[in-house]
Amino acid sequence: MIMHIQTSISRRTFLAFNYVLLTAVAVACLLPLVNVLAISFSSSAAVGAGKVHLWPVGFNLKSYAFVLNKPEFAKSFLVSLGRVAVGVPLNMLLTILIAYPLSKGSREFRFRNAYAWYFVLTMLFSGGLIPWYMTIKLTGILDTFWAMILPGAVPVFNVILLLNFFKSLPDEIDQAAQIDGAGRWQALWRIAVPLSAPAVATLTLFCIVTHWNAWFDGLILMNRPEHYPLQSYLQTVIVNRDLSLVTAQDLLNWSEVSDRTSKAAQVFVAVIPVLLVYPFLQKYFAEGIVMGSVKG
């Protein structure tokens, strides 16, 4: 298109306007985050007086010290790390194991369509909240760590993304492996998975973010706040403000660290892990989404 650079005044005005507009929208997207970040680093007096906008006033780290010294916060942070460490590998293992056979044609695997519908149906229809809750209770994992792992262990949407990716791999490689005497399991782990590294990486990152961000299951399936993952704990202290969870120590600290600055600090400590994986997400996920929605 380089040959058709147009320099008409209207075009240049449009381009200038466009750059300004795009920048403004992006800045507007970030402002809420920047504002709350500034609050977390500011003194409670400055925040109370409404002086904090986009830059900390009376810079200090007291709110962060307060948050990190809160035993409940640390405990729930560890629960969240634990569910990521156990839940994500299980998610990925099951996703790969289901997606591979389903990526075969129904000639090679006669039950392929039956199985595929078996899994897809769960995306189209569900029993709803109460039967789901009762089932988890029935299986005896209520109020245990496994309540946050097993019910969501099969991410069906990811299975479909991966099976479409497997399908796009050239058949010849698989056939050559068969001729060389590789079994199904070898073909899966030695050929299909390594060739799908970008897709597997994308889905792993999706699973990490999903587990890290999950809060509803923790909130209703765990009976004791000590077992809450971080996001469930934050739901009770930031959004819902459950005063029964406020300790005497908290009240003492509030004179120095205001409710607003401490909430802001808690929000940002919870964002840090997402920030850490974001560069990797960025690299792969555009590809990931596109492979799911516009496939050949």
Binding site: M1, H4, Q6, F14, Y19, L22, V25, A26, C29, P32, L33, V36, H53, L94, L97, I98, Y100, P101, L102, R110, F111, Y118, F119, V120, T122, L124, F125, G127, G128, L129, I130, P131, W132, M134, T135, L138, T139, L150, A153, V154, V159, L163, R184, W185, W212, N213, F216, V239, R260, K263, A264, Q266, V267, A270, V274, Q282, A286, I289, V290, V294
Partner: protein, 298 residues
Amino acid sequence: MRRKTIRELPFHLMILPGFLLVLIYSYVPMAGIVMAFERLVPSKGMFMSPWVGWKNFEYMLRLPGTLDVLRNTFVIAGMKMVAGIVVPVTFALLLNEARQRLFRRSIQTIIYFPHFLSWIILSGILIDILSPSTGIVNGMLGLVKIPPVYFLGDSRWFPFTLVLTDTWKEFGYGTIVYLAALTGINPALYEAASMDGAGRLRQTVSVTLPALLPMIVLMSVLSLGNILNAGFEQVFNLYSPQVYKTGDIIDTLVFRIGLENANYGVATAVGLFKSVVSFVMVGLSYLLAYRLTDYRIF
């Protein structure tokens, strides 16, 4: 025949663990729908409690707020569906006009980010910035002499706050598919149009939009399945009794009836209503997507 069965055996084994987990945690709850026709007695459990027929549904229809909840769900979900198409398409078109790669990448990196934050984090941020007394948004409105707006506590504003904040979280993510479709357009089409004397605007109308249309149709059709998904996570974390009139949705109602008031039968009945309508809509949307754009899920 036998040999084929043996050759397929590893496939069955691979699927088996996932099959069982889905059987337990997706199909048992589907069977648990019978609770909608029962009065749950905890000692007898999901499948053995006394049968009450349509009583739970009758009770649901007699609840004073039911119609409001149904309307709210449609209105909020509908507005989100429209915004979820219009904003990403517009933004992708504008972003596509910006030629500097670094600029485009930076903008994209920023606008995708909120998608990856949970509604807990975003609610924490929104509750702070939208506060009528101390929030920065009302602070800015105050500069231009607009009286404070109680975005989260005023039932007139609440649905729009939901749509706006949901757009903030999701529009960047939504632009990805359209940007991908835009980069797939053959540059020769633009050259040809340009030779025929088409200006930039004309090129956008005659080349870009038609090329984007299948994707717009596909995404619109697929979003039909969300007609009753007004966004539980968002509403649950932002609403309060003051805004039930315009902000209460089916999912939050199910939560309150079922888990707060322990009225399991009625909550299951309300949930079943939602599941059935959603199932019909999702089925219809896949059928339409298949007919219109040859889209298949697997």
